[in-house]
């Protein structure tokens, strides 16, 4: 189905099942511990052996030698695969920057250099410690600050007019020079780790030329092509199965070393092999959100109208990697006639930077929205009003291009009202509650809605039950449930009559889970398949598909009504493909974030008291799972604002805090009260579902709202995230 004109009325609009806060249909599997996650699929292949990964002990250089003799003799060892068995690195998969395995070169710390396969996990681990590796270290670039001095321009997006340069609209320099009120500040955000609960994990089994991998991966079609390329096998000989994923946050968008090593290990051992990457390897072996150095300059009239916006960002990555696109949202978020943006990449030899939940917007808004708070204060203007005054309903660079929908002002007004924003003291450091300094902050959230083609198959059984098959993934987001809701709505059956099967590369290729595009596109793809099934069923039952309604397990037209089950068995397959509605209209999602914090006047510890997000993200397919996404993202944003930082050892070139004890993410005690309000405006330009993404919106802006609340509490502005107590402690009021 081609979606190239705005959606009219369709069966989804009935909202009998779609739009309802349905419990997750996969919930019982999870709460009973029976959801088949990759590492625990003991039943899929007999006689599984265990693999244990060895990571490089240096950040840059060459392996001089690897002595595996002792390890090979260790009890239970079946095979050892070393990187030196390959003369050069295996080919790169899609979006991989650093090679995953092969060759003597070490490109970053903890890069995989061996896999030990043994009868038990403990045997593999013990033997892994017996491999003796010697290295010839070489100097590396491990300091973003230094590397930034020789950083190069990078394009912001595909449409960048002149990719290797500054992107300009109007005359920023002149407008900024003339502006009566200005902000000109530098900010930094640190590297962050996805730190998902389930590590990278794969079971691999060969049958002759054919390889099956049971793994945890967000993007099945991409990863099938990538893994086939990395292993130099034919894609038709590879099957990937990833029905349950214990979190990914972008870390599992691409093939990682677990899958490659499991496949190599299984080949060498002649047995199925399972590999879970050890937690202490996760942070340096895989990808992370790159650290940034950002600069914002804002020029405004005295009544708060922005006339000039500059946003620039330098981030680090390995040579060949991309920059963190931290200025992306600044092109669209506020009106102003004169604008400039640039991105630079500073090449370092730290581990690979890559996508993490809301890449670009998450760190970009942490900065831009702090700068807006600073501007509001300088203008003596309410921060909410400042945003409202500068709202735009068109793409500022192409005023003829409107937003498909934009209710940001309503998000802000509703949020201010519900949060009790009027009680905020504009002057910072005014409110005390015992030993707590209390502050409120807000920020705008913004993230684009991306359209990606997506396909699905739907089968109607003789019993009237439906089975959905697509290679779409559920990374804990609720995909199973919203697909079941979509099928139930379209065919008029109870949700309990829908079985959803996901994550198998033998199923039709979907949009996958990433960039908050999963929900809208995968349900739209299924919608297309359902339309086909309706046509087939109507025809089989002798109805004209146009007149038939599907409800209560019956197909009806006029006074004739027949059970849907009578049309079974039937199979329909289709997908959604998009025309140019995303070019004609800017499609985005919006939020107003409001936060109250307390800062301990003695210790400087910041503790969040309450958070509210008001979201404008199209039709909300399931308010319950959407809320879970938003509060989860807000929690992640709290981590980014207050504690998460990959600490760089600039001498040895690695992230030092590479486990979950030392890389702190928020715990329950950090997140006392969260509220989410959805405006729920269907967007007819986005898809027949009229939905948009919401999984990343929650993290966009929330960090700045927290930072602004901290400032409101203390009067001390910290521009280097995370805002840990040491950064404002000595400027807090003196203690008797």
């Amino acid at each position: 189905m081609k979606f190239d004109t705005p959606a009219g009325t369709n069966p989804i609009d009935r909202l009998q099942v779609v739009g309802q806060p349905t419990d997750r249909i996969d919930g019982p599997l999870k709460t009973t511990g029976t959801a088949p996650y990759a590492y625990e699929r003991h039943d899929v292949a007999p006689n599984q052996a265990y693999g244990y990964i060895v990571g490089a002990g240096i950040a840059k250089g060459r392996i001089s030698s690897m002595d595996t003799r002792e390890a090979e003799r260790a009890p239970g060892v079946l095979a050892i695969v070393t990187t030196l068995e390959h003369a050069k690195p295996l080919p790169l998969g899609k979006m991989n920057v650093a090679h995953l395995f092969g060759g003597a070169e070490v490109a970053h710390y903890h890069q995989a250099i061996a896999l030990v396969v043994a009868e038990t996990f403990e045997q593999a681990r013990a033997a892994a410690a017996l491999i003796r590796t010697t290295y010839a270290r070489s100097d590396g670039r491990f300091d973003l600050g230094k590397a930034a001095l020789s950083a190069r321009y990078e394009p912001i997006d595909d449409e960048a007019p002149n990719p290797q340069d500054v992107e300009r609209v109007g005359d920023f320099a002149a407008a900024f020079a003339k502006a009566p009120v200005t902000i000109d500040q530098a900010y930094t955000t640190p590297g962050e780790s996805h730190a998902m609960m389930e590590p990278f994990a794969t079971i691999a089994a060969w049958e002759g030329e054919k390889l099956t991998v049971w793994t945890a991966n967000q993007m099945i079609a991409w990863s099938k092509a990538s893994l086939a390329k990395i292993l130099s096998i034919k894609p038709e000989n590879l099957r990937i199965d990833s029905p349950f994923i214990g979190g990914g946050f972008g870390g599992k968008l691409f093939v990682r070393a677990d899958a490659v090593l499991a496949a190599l290990g299984a080949k060498k051992a002649g047995r199925p092999v399972k590999v879970a990457m050890q937690r202490p390897l996760m942070m340096n072996n895989s990808t992370h959100r790159p650290a940034t150095i950002q600069h914002v300059r804002l020029g405004a009239t005295r009544d708060g109208r922005l006339t000039a916006i500059h946003h620039s960002s330098t981030s680090s990555n390995l040579s060949g990697g991309g920059p963190e696109v931290a200025v992306q949202q600044t092109k669209l978020i506020y009106a102003a006639a004169n604008r400039e943006y640039w991105l630079k990449l500073a090449v370092t030899d730290l581990p690979e930077g890559n996508a993490m939940r809301a890449p670009g917007e998450a760190p970009g808004l942490m900065v831009l929205e702090m700068a807006m708070d600073e501007l509001a204060e300088k203008l003596a203007m309410d921060p909410v009003e400042l945003r409202i005054v500068n709202d735009t309903l068109v793409d500022p660079a192409k005023p003829e291009r409107r937003f498909s929908q934009r209710h940001l002002v309503e998000c802000l007004r509703t949020g201010a009202d519900r949060f009790g924003w009027s009680r905020r003291q504009a002057k910072p450091a005014q409110v005390r509650d015992g030993h707590w300094l209390i502050g409120m902050g807000m920020a705008v959230g913004f993230r684009n809605n991306l359209l990606q083609k997506s396909a699905a198959r739907i089968k109607l059984g003789r019993d009237g039950k439906l089975t959905v098959e697509t290679d779409m993934t559920d990374i804990g987001t609720g995909t199973y449930t919203i697909l079941a809701q979509t099928a139930a709505e379209m065919l008029g059956v109870p949700i309990g009559d829908v079985v959803v099967k996901l994550g198998d590369s033998d199923f039709p290729a979907s949009a996958g889970s990433g960039g908050q595009w999963g929900a809208n596109n995968s349900t739209a793809g299924l919608y297309a398949a359902c339309v086909k099934l309706r046509e087939a069923a109507a025809q089989k039952l002798g109805f004209n598909a146009r007149d038939a309604t599907f409800a209560d397990g019956q197909v009806k037209a006029g006074n004739r009504s027949l059970p849907l089950a009578q049309a079974g068995p039937l199979t329909a397959e289709d997908g959604i493909e998009y025309g140019t509605l995303d070019k004609e209209y800017q499609q985005s999602t919006f939020a107003g974030h409001f936060v109250e914090v307390g800062v301990d006047i003695y210790t400087g510890e910041t503790r969040i008291r309450r958070m509210l997000a008001v979201c404008d993200a199209g039709r909300i397919i399931n308010p319950k799972s959407a809320r879970s996404q938003v509060i989860g993202a807000m929690t992640m944003g709290a981590g980014a604002a207050l504690m998460e930082e990959l600490a760089v050892d600039k001498r040895f070139g690695f992230f030092v805090n590479h486990d979950l004890a030392s890389y702190e993410v928020p715990v329950h005690a950090d997140i006392p009260h969260q509220e989410v309000i959805f405006l729920d405006y269907p967007d007819d330009k986005s898809s027949p579902m009229k939905a948009k993404g919401v999984g990343e919106l929650g993290i966009c802006g929330v960090g700045a709202a927290i930072a602004n609340a901290v400032y409101n509490a203390t009067g001390v502005r910290v521009r280097d995230y995370p805002i840990t107590l040491d950064k404002h402690l000595e400027e807090l009021p003196a203690i008797a």
Binding site: G57, I58, P75, E122, R125, A126, A129, P280, H435, D600, Y602, T603, G604, E605, R607, L642, M643, A647, V648, D649, R651, F652, V656, N657, H658, D659, A661, S662, E664, V665, P666, V667, H668, A669, D670, P722, T724, L725, D726, L729, E730, L732, I735, A736
Partner: protein, 316 residues
């Protein structure tokens, strides 16, 4: 993890003898620290002597009006004991500020005292670390040292003792009771129990090889207000950046010990005289010889401010 042999001891003296007999043998209590370290091959004992059957899991009154806490009393049981909660509140508060409910259910009194540092380089066997591998160097010096010690350190090691319970025991002047392989017992004041690193950072405590902790005794109750304040980046499940254990009397006099700042619970008795006048003087004296790194300099003002909070709380 290296392969090891395992036995369950039946009496304290036998346990001590079993460990003393075999080079590289260790006691196993709750295992919540030791097993983690073994998995990473930071600890590589050849033999484990499990002490769980030793019946050292009771809390009894002593003749001098204090309490004797068996070495195997769990953190949960100790924190919940009504006598401890009534008379030694600082101990309960310190324990529940640490780890998680599940870990405290398993962790023992002796094991908690002996938990090893959380220096991140100690945990990464690719990195030089004098505590883990004597003579290899100290990666934390000149590296990422935000969590590490500001006082009591040496050129060889700047790690902290990371625990909470021992900070309270230090303020209470507890005593550690042990038995050696030959059956000799001894009593070690908590002040002398943890060592400063000096040139031998691999040795954390005054225990001799094979010496088994049998109990920890508390002197008779001190009265006063018992406060434990733990400061950290997140609200729970994190080691202290700084912690303060204090017992403060109505007249403002009292005792105070600091955690998260030194290789051992840090208490300078001579500094306590000025406690009634507030935090500044005490803290200045306690940290007079501090040698912080650029990363952890903040711990000194933080310790002073945390002490001020504790004093205010005790007065309230």
């Amino acid at each position: 993890m290296r392969a090891f042999t395992y036995e369950r001891a039946t009496s304290p003296a036998q346990a001590a003898a079993a460990v003393a007999r075999q080079p590289g043998a260790k006691f196993l209590a709750g295992g919540t620290n030791l097993l983690d370290l073994m998995k990473l091959e930071i600890e590589t004992p050849r033999h484990l002597v499990d002490v769980q059957d030793l019946k050292l899991d009771t809390i009894e009154p002593t003749d001098t009006g204090g309490l004797r806490i068996g070495a195997l009393v769990t953190n949960t049981a100790l924190a919940a004991d009504p006598r401890v909660r009534r008379d030694y509140g600082v101990l309960t508060r310190a324990i529940v500020a640490g780890a998680s409910g599940q870990l405290r259910n398993k962790a023992t009194t002796a094991g908690n005292l002996l938990q090893r540092t959380r220096c991140p380089y100690f945990y990464d066997t690719n990195q030089p670390c004098n505590k883990r591998k004597p003579g290899s160097g100290c990666a934390a010096l000149g590296g990422y040292s935000r969590q590490l010690a500001v006082i009591g350190t040496s050129e060889q090691c700047i790690a902290t003792y990371p625990g909470d319970m021992a900070i309270a025991l230090r303020v209470l002047d507890a005593t550690v009771e042990t038995v050696a392989a030959d059956g000799r017992t001894r009593r070690i004041a908590i002040a002398d129990f943890h060592r400063l690193p000096g040139d031998t950072p691999q040795r954390d405590t005054a225990l001799e090889p094979g010496e088994l902790i049998t109990a920890v005794t508390l002197p008779k109750p001190l009265g006063g207000r018992h406060v434990y304040r733990k400061v950290r980046d997140r609200a729970s499940y994190a080691f202290a950046l700084v912690s303060v254990a204090a017992v403060i009397q109505r007249d403002g006099t009292g005792r105070v010990a600091f955690g998260g700042v030194a290789p051992k619970p840090w208490r300078v008795e001579a500094a306590e005289a000025t406690l009634p006048e507030g935090a500044r003087g005490v803290s200045a004296r306690v940290f007079a010889d501090a040698r912080p790194t650029e990363d952890n300099r903040f711990k000194i003002p933080l310790a002073e401010r945390t002490l001020a909070a504790v004093i205010a709380q005790a007065k309230a």
